[in-house]
């Protein structure tokens, strides 16, 4: 027996030794490895939302215009564009002599085809582009989009999600939504090479790219199913760029280390509480206000996001600084006032000192469960007992969105690419308003503001919007989503860096260089 154990031990050691000396048939040129959370579900980035493929699509495809990492609109296939006086016609002038990755020439007709298909085939951006009336391609390098009414959010939406221009010679009605069965052909800085499920997606640089040629030869997305393992793989040097925000417990380690760089950036995306105002007890604004006074969102943020966290101060995202009105700030925490508000409504504390028992519904996502835990703790201090109902997304969607069977829910999500995005969350017909809330004055303000291009005039309407949101307190903003994507110190030109930020968008690695 002892000999057997010894034998196994020796064999293992020999193999281990052999492993560490295995010779590599290495490739010439630089390879950049970026972490990814899952396998792409669709190679047509416009057919349906697929967050797994999004970072890859950012490198394979181009749009007419795109958003950089500061949420500003910058040129892409279109080198410039102009909006007509009345705000309903936008003319895009495209770069010349662009080719698709398969060598076919790109023309304005591909752009027209894509935008028409998004509408016809119910693409992921169909709701975002609903003010688009028609698309024309008068010549090979010009695209003209006509809107049914002036829409200040339109350019932002066109530059954002699921509006990548796809090749007309590849797609038709039958294969538009064909998952991963048609290989992606784009005009972007990197070309698709291969996808091994559960392992990686490999891209190579496109030497015919119309913009600056990428500095690395190969771009590999390493698929990691577990966030905690992914960060260890990053520390171990298997991944050069983490490919997402690190787990909160690791932030301090990364910020304080010379081996890594991190650039926290506030995105127009925020975590907030939404109340079901159609039912008791939250049909009473006093109770909603009591909750707002009971909560301290700075404390919640500090405890759930750590030192890079950013607590919400206004009812609109700080990414649109020009609309923020300091007269209508989120109220500061005041437990006495919270209790007074509760008593005003006629509630009495029971033998345990509780005025009210309620519940919060949430799905597992990011730091949601941490936020709910701190909210529960803070509410308990003013005599509100909170039960946390945590489920996975599909079950949450059925309970909260479909059946409106909830009292409070925790929400997140993008509130861009334009400040007008708040409309879908609070207006009567808004897609993401399932609070049972309807305020005609607010609806009108939002509609008017959405058609105005001039910032100062537009901002005055959003001041009023903030006033109503403060008075009605249907949502309680907690924290901003702070995007950060740690990279190793030897990486230069990542999308957050000085060099790249004006030129590249989210997860676009054209300017990345490995300096070691």
């Amino acid at each position: 027996m002892k000999k057997l154990i010894l034998g196994i031990f020796i064999i293992c050691n020999t193999l281990l030794f052999a492993c560490s000396n295995g010779e590599a048939e290495s490739n010439s040129g630089d390879t950049l490895v970026v972490g990814a959370v899952g396998d792409p579900q669709t190679y047509n980035p416009d057919a349906r939302p697929d967050d797994n493929f999004y970072p890859m699509a950012q490198n394979i495809y181009s749009r007419l215009i795109k958003l950089n990492n500061n949420q500003e609109i910058i040129p892409d296939l279109a080198k410039d564009w102009e909006v007509s006086e009345d705000g309903t016609e936008i003319t895009f002038n495209l770069h010349e002599n662009i080719t698709w990755h398969d060598g076919e020439p790109f023309t304005s007709s591909d752009a027209k085809f894509t935008l028409d298909m998004i509408i016809e085939q119910n693409g992921a951006a169909v709701d975002n582009l609903n003010s688009m009336e028609k698309v024309e391609a008068p010549d090979d390098n010009t695209v003209v989009i006509t809107l049914s009414q002036p829409d200040a959010s339109f350019l932002g939406y066109l530059a954002w999600y699921a509006t990548f221009i796809v090749p007309e010679h590849i797609y038709d009605e039958d294969n538009w939504d064909s998952g991963t069965s048609v290989e992606p052909i784009g005009t972007g800085p990197f070309k698709f090479v291969s996808h091994e499920t559960g392992v990686n997606v490999e891209l190579e640089h496109n030497s015919d790219y119309f913009g600056d040629t990428p500095k690395v030869d190969r771009l590999i997305f390493s698929i990691n199913s577990d966030q905690d393992t992914q960060i260890q793989a990053f520390y171990n040097g298997e991944i050069d760029i983490l490919g997402g925000a690190p787990p909160i417990a690791e932030v301090e380690n990364i910020v304080n280390s010379d081996e890594y760089k991190i650039t926290p950036t506030v995105w127009p995306s925020r975590q907030y509480l939404a109340f079901n105002v159609a039912e008791e007890p939250f049909n009473d604004p006093n109770i909603r206000q009591a909750i707002a006074y009971a909560l301290d969102n700075e404390d919640i943020t500090m405890r759930t996001d750590g030192e890079i966290g950013e607590a919400a101060t206004h009812f609109l995202s700080p990414s649109y600084e020009w609309v923020l009105d300091d007269d209508y700030l989120i109220p500061e925490s005041n437990q006495e006032l919270a209790k007074a508000k509760l008593e005003e409504t006629g509630l009495e504390p029971d033998e345990n000192g509780n005025y009210l028992s309620t519940s919060i519904d949430m799905f597992e996502s990011g730091n949601f469960s941490d936020i709910a835990t701190v909210v529960k703790e803070q509410l308990s201090q003013v005599g509100i007992e909170l039960t946390i109902n945590s489920s996975e997304y599909a079950a949450w969607q059925e309970k909260v969105v479909d059946n409106q069977n909830f009292q409070i829910t925790l929400l997140g999500g993008y509130q861009g690419p334009d400040v007008g995005a708040i409309t879908s969350r609070v207006s009567t017909t808004g897609d993401s308003n399932f609070m049972g809330y309807s305020n005609q004055e607010l609806d009108e303000l939002l509609d008017t503001a959405g058609a105005i291009f001039e910032e100062e005039e537009r901002a005055s309407y959003y001041s009023e919007v903030q006033r109503i949101l403060l008075e009605d307190m249907i949502i309680y903003p907690i924290s901003e989503w702070v995007g950060s994507d740690p990279v190793h110190a030897y990486i230069e030109g990542d999308p957050f860096s000085e060099e790249a930020i004006g030129k590249t968008g989210f997860a676009e690695y054209t300017y990345v260089e490995l300096t070691e």
Binding site: E25, T31, D39, Q232
Partner: protein, 323 residues
């Protein structure tokens, strides 16, 4: 014996049929809708939802959906994934290889090590070695496998840098030939160690206790009285009797081979069925889920038949009872 096997196969088929019905019903009963998840919005427009629902045949009655499903199944068609539009069978085939590699090798290694340790400790019951192994078997048995996996990653990858943290191959370099196998082996070591460490205690305890039990039976005492040597008694009589429960546990373990190592696969980003299955559940990809569950039912049924047959072979009393 042929009669016995026949009966077992019929039972196996019944199990598969019942599980198809149950799987279908349970999946449909669970809250959530793949179309909603597919739309990527908290609340998609009713028109978009209706079109997608019709496209995937989800507008028909549940009964019709079931009839269609079974009809296609009879033709060997497992359907097309709602998520990726790829045939379910193809998707499963892509993922099952790595799972089998990890699960089969570790099951066999754990069986050998666990049983060997069990036998040794049973023969030298109460020795210091026995105490140490028995004690540590409880420690590893009670350890969650994902936690143990993470600890091994932190020690052997992040701190010592000896082994890669995750995945199955090195992505920067394309190894070929022998170096490729070495690379896979290097990636296999940590997840395999994790699974072996938490599975060995099962086999160890079963082997140890059944051997101790058999050795205390009357016929062994009789054999000892005849003056037969301890090793001969052990090899010829104890071992064969004591190994039966181990084979049962091994068979049950193998039946869950497709999904049994899912959590360890997720921790180590091993490109097997683990994260794939979890994704299918989250997105309510009905055809894919049904495919995975079907595979699971079939492997459970087949392993039960095999275990029963081996059992009957090793212990002929079973066949007599059946008659």
């Amino acid at each position: 014996m042929a009669n016995y096997i026949q009966k077992r196969i019929i039972t196996g088929i019944l199990i598969i049929v019942v599980s198809i019905v149950l799987n279908f019903t349970l999946i449909k009963l669970s809250p959530g809708d793949p179309i909603r998840v597919l739309s990527g919005q908290d609340s998609p427009s009713p028109q978009m939802q209706a079109e997608l629902t019709a496209k995937y045949g989800l507008d028909q009655s549940v009964f019709m959906q079931f009839i269609n499903y079974v009809g296609n199944l009879a033709k060997g068609d497992l359907g097309v994934s709602i998520l990726s539009n790829q045939p379910v069978l193809k998707m499963i085939m892509e993922r099952i290889g790595p799972t089998l590699l990890l699960a089969l090798t570790t099951a066999i290694i754990a069986l050998i090590i666990g049983t060997a340790l069990g036998i040794y400790c049973a023969r030298y019951r109460g020795s210091r070695f026995d105490n140490i192994v028995s004690g540590s078997s409880y420690i590893f048995d009670s350890m969650p496998n994902f936690w143990l996996g993470m600890m091994l990653i932190m020690i052997f990858s992040s701190s010592l840098g000896w082994l890669p943290t995750s995945g199955m191959v090195d992505l920067r370099t394309n190894y070929t030939g022998f170096n490729y196998y070495l690379d896979v082996f290097k990636h296999w070591l940590l997840p395999a160690t994790t699974i072996v460490l938490v599975t060995v205690p099962y086999y160890f305890r079963i082997a140890r206790s059944s051997i101790i039990q058999v050795m205390s039976e009357d016929f062994i005492t009789t054999l000892r009285a005849t003056g037969m040597s301890e090793s001969r008694i052990f090899n010829k009589y104890v071992f064969k009797n004591a190994i039966l429960p181990t084979i049962t546990v091994f068979g049950i373990n193998l039946a869950y081979i497709v999904t049994g190592v899912a959590i360890v696969e997720i921790v180590f980003s091993w490109p097997g069925m683990g994260s794939f299955m979890l994704d299918a559940i989250h997105r309510r990809d009905y055809p894919l889920l049904m495919g995975i569950y079907l595979l699971l039912s079939i492997s459970v049924a087949i392993m039960m038949i095999i275990v029963d047959v081996i059992y009957a072979y090793l212990d002929p009393r079973i066949l007599y009872k059946e008659r």
